[in-house]
Symmetry: C2
Subunit: 385 residues, 2 copies
């Protein structure tokens, strides 16, 4: 196995570590920028790296539909196709398929859906999700799970969790068959690909506990907590994370899917999470919502029209080193494409610098102090409110 | 005066030189990427510089309307506002105003127009065009001229040319008044700003000759040829350039406004032009039309779906060094913002490398050989036709 997780130190429940993949090392706790279609939106790979990203996430649903996993396999896998040489994690495609609402039907076999691009019908089974990701050749593949809408009844959450657990077993079996060379028609682009299981169960802790047990029993290189950051209150999410992490093996990485705000990252690291992904830094950047050490800035606000200060004087990013708030506001109001690029560079740097500061704090066992100070400054009322 | 043009060598009518401005030196023949609203579309300044740009163009019309020349003056001028420390040339705003068709009225006093943004009414006089550019603080300002539509009758072209000549005199007087400190309410952001006159006269050479005489008589630091590259056949443009250049002083730079294709650059350098600007490399990039040493590429074309080659194997740009045609096509088809950025980087590099090759060829007196080879390769039928 090419995947190896090493725990370096802990500070309370917070963990400092690293994992090795066929495409290099990732320091944890880690944040993964989202590169849905093989590109982190509005950022060149070079800038994503410069911002401090050690791993990015690709979306299997999008890449499967366009340009297609078979094309990507013929071109040597996702890393080579997109020209990104560091680690990549791919999701299973499930989240996007379940988001299609009336254009998908879920059965025990899998999910049948219609492409949002052209209406063509496709079937996503656990086995197919594994095969597609094998062709993409990501360093970490995710199992196909059922993503429940929030809120859900305990009965629905239980049924869904148990189906996800059955699918997880099918995913693991399929990967083992691929690894054993027993599947003829699937090109395995990255033989060292790891696979993570996903704990479901909504906000019902007994279901989460059962799910953790079943998922760990199936046996994966790492474990994700799915079905959170979907609209539930932050304290509910934190409570589920806190209790669920305790059911997961300490020797393997723990990935909280789809979270979150800067506060969420700090609060969930405090509860033992090692990995995060979220569209928030990139999507908010394109909407003019910028993260700073002093709270959020809405760059559209007229108060910035003649503000010569950098967005965040403490920030090392290209945007803050070269441009004023006045210019950033002008670019955004004028609809210039460079507004998206400069804002994205900044928000990504803010997220990735936060992770770097978290890692240092854990290593020096000052995480609790860091956490209090960080929440005090970042959570203050935004100047634009 | 801070502006100084030095002619280094010639090869036939082609000229190799440089001009000095308050923000540095520009090697000629030079191409100026267009940064309409204070940003070269889809490119960060850093990348524009890396592509080889020594000077960019800003559009007075757009900057006057948003964020406003007075705001820019309060923030220290255009260079400081946008964070670009090298030379900038600004046009007069005339071309955009004349393009507004039914939303503008031209009188001897100036042009009254309605903003395309909010319909507000404004008056652009020769004096105001000078004042606005003084506040912007570009290194080279252009006089306000009347831009005739093509085709025009000789009578219309003559009347328009004579009005432009009268406006040129008013522009020069206004700049001299500003330089002498005789205008109280205009902040001069760049005291070393040069001013170029513009030769008009359509495709009628006697009018061009008259215009050149009148414009040179008014006396400017450099001379532009306006009113070309507006729809006339290329050989007509070349003929007008050829004959008009002969009426201009050899000791000052000659700027062909708004041109053109790569072929146009080479053909007009061959006729004695020193400076160019055009939206073609950046606009075409955003439409997926890419320039290469082997002809034009339409990156949408399905033939590139699995093409692992760089766009142009001979190109040094970031895009060609890191990405395949297959990935560029995918990004473009998927509507990713990075498609615009990567395509723009390439096209700008192609244009600016062409200028670099032109300058070398003139210096080594091999320009004619270069010209034949360049036209032979670039003008060949595009592979996508």
């Amino acid at each position: 196995m090419s995947f190896r997780f090493t725990l370096a130190s802990t500070d309370g429940a917070a963990r400092r570590g690293r994992f090795e993949t066929p495409h290099g090392v990732v320091e944890t706790p880690a944040f993964m920028p989202v590169g849905t279609q093989g590109s982190v939106k509005a950022a060149l790979h070079r800038d994503v790296e410069a911002a401090g990203a050690q791993i990015i996430l690709g979306n299997t649903y999008h890449l499967f539909l366009r340009p297609g996993d078979e094309l990507i396999a013929r071109l040597g896998g996702l890393h080579r196709f997109i020209g990104w040489s560091r680690p990549i994690l791919t999701d299973s495609g499930g989240f996007q398929v379940f988001s299609l609402a009336d254009r998908r039907v879920i059965r025990e076999e899998g999910a049948e859906f219609q492409s949002h691009l052209d209406g063509t019908r496709h079937m996503l089974t656990p086995e197919r999700a594994v095969d597609i990701q094998a062709r993409l050749g990501s360093d970490i593949a995710m199992v196909l799970d059922e993503c429940l809408a929030y809120p859900a009844t305990e009965e629905d959450a239980a049924a869904s969790m148990r189906r996800s657990a059955r699918w997880a077993v099918r995913c693991r079996r399929r990967l083992e068959a691929l690894r054993a060379g027993e599947v003829a028609d699937v090109t395995v682009s990255n033989p060292g690909q790891a696979q993570f299981g996903i704990v479901q169960g909504g906000v019902f802790q007994p279901l989460r506990d059962d799910s953790a047990g079943l998922t760990v029993e199936a046996g994966f290189e790492g474990y994700a907590i799915g079905g959170l950051s979907v609209g539930e209150p932050a304290d509910v999410m934190y409570a589920v994370v806190d209790a669920t992490v305790r059911q997961l093996p300490a020797a393997q990485p723990r990935y909280l899917m789809g979270a979150g705000t800067p506060q969420d990252l700090v609060e969930c690291v405090a509860r033992g999470i090692d990995m995060f992904d979220c569209v928030m830094p990139t999507r908010n950047a394109r909407n003019g919502q910028l993260f700073t050490s002093q709270g959020r800035v809405n760059i559209r606000n007229a108060r910035y029209a003649e503000d010569e200060r950098p967005l965040d004087p403490g920030c090392r990013c290209h945007t803050c080193r070269h441009h004023s708030r006045a210019y950033l506001r002008h670019l955004f109001m004028a609809g210039e494409l460079s507004a998206f690029a400069l804002n994205t560079l900044h928000n990504l740097t803010f997220y990735l610098d936060t992770m770097e500061r978290i890692r240092h704090a854990i290593a020096f066992r000052t995480f609790d102090t860091f956490r209090q100070e960080f929440l005090g400054s970042v959570s203050r009322l935004p100047p634009d409110s």
